[in-house]
């Protein structure tokens, strides 16, 4: 696919001139922490020759990431302090659609299964996964005549490196399209956590949709969004915590943390204190 072909080209040029591809030096996949390395931003500084040829990202994906940037940082690029998250890295990967099994009689509302491959070479060993989203969008901005419910079956194929070759049981997600729907986010964190943690370099999955309108029938052909051509193959978003020395580690003030897990308060909170009293009484 586009990404792997690009990688192949870059890898080939790296073989020719080992110093041609500085990026791989920055995120050693072998896990050795070379904290003295410059951050990717300035590795190019020391490299006089012209920029490395790079593949152009999908415009819709770029638009999404620019919107995310505006939400997290000021115009000068300073991370906003009123944040409620711990990740300091967000990576968006465009899928290499392997192939679509298009059924002969395509019924509106039922999408052919998509085989997707995501190449995770850019994720370094020091980047730990906190959240993962499959991001769907449409080719054009459309509005739905009425709310439509969809069910998405997702199967993660066993990674090449693992011995078993069988695909896992499908995981189902249900969600609803509302009127003006731009982006649909499917949280796949629990599915991908073990793969990213074991430093898998690519993730292979198959996805299929079935949708019904609020009368629980397959949407009619008139409800235009449901022919396959309008749904763009999904991108994969990884929210990561980069633990390397040059990454910014946000020091959260106790008053700011919304979820108690991250906020290890030295004193039990209300319900914990009540529980303590109850168990004390129970023991007595």
């Amino acid at each position: 696919c586009q990404a792997s072909r690009g990688e192949a080209q870059i890898a080939a040029s790296a073989e020719l001139e080992p110093e041609a591809e500085p990026w791989s030096l920055l995120h050693p996949l072998d896990g050795r922490d070379r904290s003295g390395l410059l951050p990717p931003l300035f590795k190019i500084l020391s490299d006089e020759r012209e920029g490395i040829p790079r593949l152009q990202p999908d415009t819709r994906a770029l638009r999404y990431m620019k919107r995310l940037y505006k939400a997290y940082a000021t115009k000068e690029g300073i991370p906003k302090s009123n944040r409620s998250h711990l990740y300091n890295t967000v990576r968006l990967f465009t899928s290499c659609v392997q192939h679509k099994q298009v059924p002969v009689d395509q019924v509106p509302g039922i999408f052919p299964s998509l085989d997707l491959l995501f190449n995770l070479d850019r994720v370094s060993v020091l980047e730990h996964l906190l959240k993962s989203i499959l991001l769907y969008t449409f080719k054009d901005s459309i509005s739905f005549p009425s709310a439509v419910k969809c069910e998405c079956d997702l199967v993660i194929k066993e990674p090449k490196s693992s011995s078993e070759a069988f695909p896992r049981a499908p995981n189902s997600f249900t969600f609803e399209f509302r009127k003006k729907h731009k982006w649909i986010e499917l949280d796949v964190t629990t599915l991908l956590q073990p793969l990213v943690a074991s430093n898998e370099r690519s993730i292979h999955m198959s996805v299929n949709f079935t949708c019904v309108n609020d009368q629980l029938q397959p949407p009619s052909a008139q409800e235009s969004p449901f022919n396959m051509s309008l749904l763009v193959p999904p991108s994969l978003l990884l929210y990561l915590n980069d633990t390397s020395a040059q990454a910014y580690h946000y020091k959260r003030r106790p008053s700011q943390s919304p979820d108690h897990k991250a906020h290890l308060s030295p004193y039990p909170t209300g319900q914990e204190a009540a529980q303590g009293r109850r168990s004390l009484r129970h023991r007595r």
């Binding site: 990404a3 920029g51 790079r54 593949l55 620019k66 000068e76 690029g77 890295t89 968006l92």
Partner: protein, 135 residues
């Protein structure tokens, strides 16, 4: 002594040529003392705008200027800095005077296009100088 006192009182407090702001500049805030300076650059100047999508402008700022002798109270410098200054002034001028360097930094968020076409939002530590000191 009354005549002396009264004649003294009649004298103008400051010499006619004296300028208050000049006084401040020369004694309380000497010229080009160690302080923070701006340096606004855009990534297109460095021809990096084909892979750095945001921010468009970046001001890393830098520290420049002379370190005054009494650095402790202004810059929170350790006593060693004053010792080094005394060595420079009284014993051996080949020992450098204390230098004006950054003491604190703030992070920078960057949106980049990776060589494989994926897009990365990353936050880097220590990318903008926010305070200077003499060391």
């Amino acid at each position: 002594g009354q005549e002396i006192v009264s004649s003294e009182l009649k004298k103008p407090l400051v010499p006619p040529s004296f300028n208050l702001s000049e006084y401040f500049k020369r004694f309380l805030f000497p010229q080009n003392e160690c302080e923070l300076h701006d340096f606004r650059l855009s990534f297109s100047q460095l021809k990096w705008d084909n892979w750095i999508v945001a921010p468009h402008r970046y001001n890393p700022r830098y520290c420049k200027g002379d370190c005054p002798r009494a650095v402790g109270h202004r810059y929170g410098s350790p006593v060693h800095t004053m010792v080094q200054n005394i060595i420079y002034e009284k014993l051996d001028s080949s020992v450098p005077r204390p230098s004006c360097v950054p003491a604190k930094y703030s992070p920078l968020s960057v949106l980049t296009i990776e060589p494989d076409g994926s897009i990365a939002y990353k936050e880097y530590e220590d990318m903008i100088a926010t305070k200077c000191t003499c060391r």
